[in-house]
């Protein structure tokens, strides 16, 4: 059915649109090859690993980072009597930088490393060879579901981290610097715009892609025994962190340039 539909679409483009049509066919075929066959159950499994299982750790880290940042900023602001700005400063920093970066580091640390270690162990014990020998595409079975799940989960995890960070900063603001909820919220709303959250979500999505690709490629190319698994996993984590930081520099530069800064 799918092949027939594809043949009809191809024929329509070739007959009606010429060169542009052929280009469109190429792009369409590439997209089709990436998204078909999609292993929904594998994507759900990976979403569970990268998403649901990280809720606790994101909560703890988000609140801690928000509180720590709130204390540091609040200590300086209290000298000038502008403690009410804790919400806006912490909120902006969390939205555009701290939340996407820390979420990516956390995901690279626990999900990326476990993905690499699992694939490396499977490679070394010939489990991946067994799959290939059965005609299973490792790209379809491992790489695509991991990429799709991570790219989908990261913006959500970022948003969740940011909210937990706001909560941490709010607790500090109320408990240590005597600011009211209204004061915290008004300044937060005034300086943290939807555009800032979109910027953070875009960063998170790119970081998710980086983590998925780096983790899978290291795992699939693992060699050696137990030492090989350890080395591959630690190398994967280091490359993940560096790649995230480099990607952050470029994305921030383009986002700033686009904003005219």
């Amino acid at each position: 059915m799918l092949t027939r539909t594809k043949a009809l679409v191809d024929r329509f483009f070739v007959l009606n649109v010429g060169y542009v049509g052929r280009l469109a066919i190429y792009l369409y075929t590439q997209a089709l090859e990436f998204f078909y066959p999609l292993r929904i159950n594998r994507i759900v499994e990976q979403l569970e690993s990268v998403g649901f299982k990280s809720i606790g750790i994101i909560l703890l880290t988000g609140v801690s980072v928000g509180m720590t940042f709130g204390v540091q900023v609040g200590a300086i602001y209290s000298i000038f009597g502008v403690e009410s700005l804790i919400g806006s400063t912490t909120g902006l920093a969390l939205a555009v930088e701290i939340a996407p970066l820390t979420t990516a580091f956390l995901v690279a640390g626990y999900y990326g490393s476990s993905t690499t270690a699992e694939l490396a162990a499977m490679k070394i014990s010939e489990q991946l060879d067994a799959m290939e020998a059965m005609g299973v595409s490792l790209l379809n079975y491992f790489v695509k579901p991991t990429v799709i799940a991570t790219v989908l989960a990261m913006p959500m995890l970022y948003f969740y981290f940011m909210l937990m960070g706001f909560l941490g900063a709010y607790i500090v603001g109320v408990e240590m610097f005597d600011i009211s909820f209204g004061n915290f919220y008004v300044w937060l709303k005034r300086y943290v715009w939807v555009e800032d959250i979109v910027k953070g979500a875009v960063k998170s999505t790119v970081f998710g892609l980086v983590v998925a690709l780096v983790s899978c490629s290291f795992g699939l190319r693992a060699t050696g025994g137990a030492r090989g698994i350890g080395l591959t996993t630690s190398n994967s984590v280091v490359v993940n962190l560096l790649a995230i930081l480099v990607a952050d520099v470029f994305i921030t530069y383009f986002q700033m340039k686009r904003a005219g800064l």
């Binding site: 499977m122 060879d129 067994a130 020998a133 059965m134 005609g135 299973v136 790209l139």
Partner: protein
């Protein structure tokens, strides 16, 4: 059915296959024997298309493997094979039943779960593992792992069953059990061809219908058990006697 023509493969300075010519007949048990490191496992990886030769041609069912260009064509080619790995290579995140169901689900995704499971249980019954469906690989002994691995190899109903050193590292009694299983499966499924990679000459002489011996990357003798028993080739004689001569000790 499987034909190698002048197949060579080199890894760095090591020439593993050096102009190998071999013919594996259909519907028979063929043993590929030789000392460790003589390229036996590399040979079966070439058959499945997991490795490509540096030179030479490989034909499976008359089809030239070098003509298979895309990943899709290669995956279709691999579906003809069932492979029992040396260390079984069972998926350690799945129980025995799901390990055997895996290739069926992959090859026939539209098949209802009940039918998939029944087929898997049938395969496990053939190797007497149908009482251990919910065991995980880390709860199985080496022999049980081998049997579960064999059931998984059978599950996709392959035309060619490849056994990669099925008796290496297991006790003599278990070796005999595995050898009997190979014969039983060949008798139960006459259309299946079995290719056994081994250095167990006793098993080869007992159950093989054709034996091919690799030495220093070349086929030095091919024929039935009698051909091997009568051979005066010193390497074959040495392999049969199991004694190391001064000249070829290292």
């Amino acid at each position: 059915m499987i034909v190698f023509e002048q197949v060579s493969k080199r890894f760095g300075d090591l020439q593993v296959l050096d102009g190998v010519d071999l013919h594996i007949p259909a519907n028979k048990i063929t043993f590929l024997i030789g000392r460790s490191g003589e390229g036996k496992s590399v040979t079966i990886k070439h058959m499945i298309g997991l490795m490509k030769p540096d030179s030479g041609e490989i034909y499976v069912d008359g089809k030239r493997l070098s003509a298979l260009q895309s990943d899709k064509e290669l995956r279709e080619h691999r579906k003809k094979f069932g492979l029992l790995f040396q260390h079984s290579a069972l998926f350690d995140n799945m129980d025995v039943l799901n390990n055997v169901c895996f290739p069926i689900r992959e090859l026939e995704p539209d098949l209802p779960d009940t039918i998939v499971e029944q087929r898997a249980i049938d395969c496990l019954s053939k190797v007497e593992m149908n009482k251990m469906l919910d065991r995980f690989p880390n709860e199985l002994s080496t022999g049980e792992k081998k049997r579960a691995g064999l059931a998984r190899a059978l599950a996709s109903e392959p035309k060619i069953l490849l056994y990669d050193e099925p008796t290496t590292g297991i006790d003599p009694l278990l070796c005999e059990t595995v050898d009997r299983l190979i014969v039983k499966i060949n008798n139960d499924s006459p259309s299946v061809s079995s290719v056994v990679i081994s250095h167990d000459i006793k098993a080869a002489l007992a159950i093989a219908e054709k034996i091919i011996m690799l030495h220093h990357g070349k086929v030095i003798l091919a024929g039935d058990a009698e051909t091997f028993r009568r051979s005066d080739n010193p390497v074959v004689r040495q392999f049969l006697s199991g004694k190391i001569s001064q000249a070829s000790a290292f």
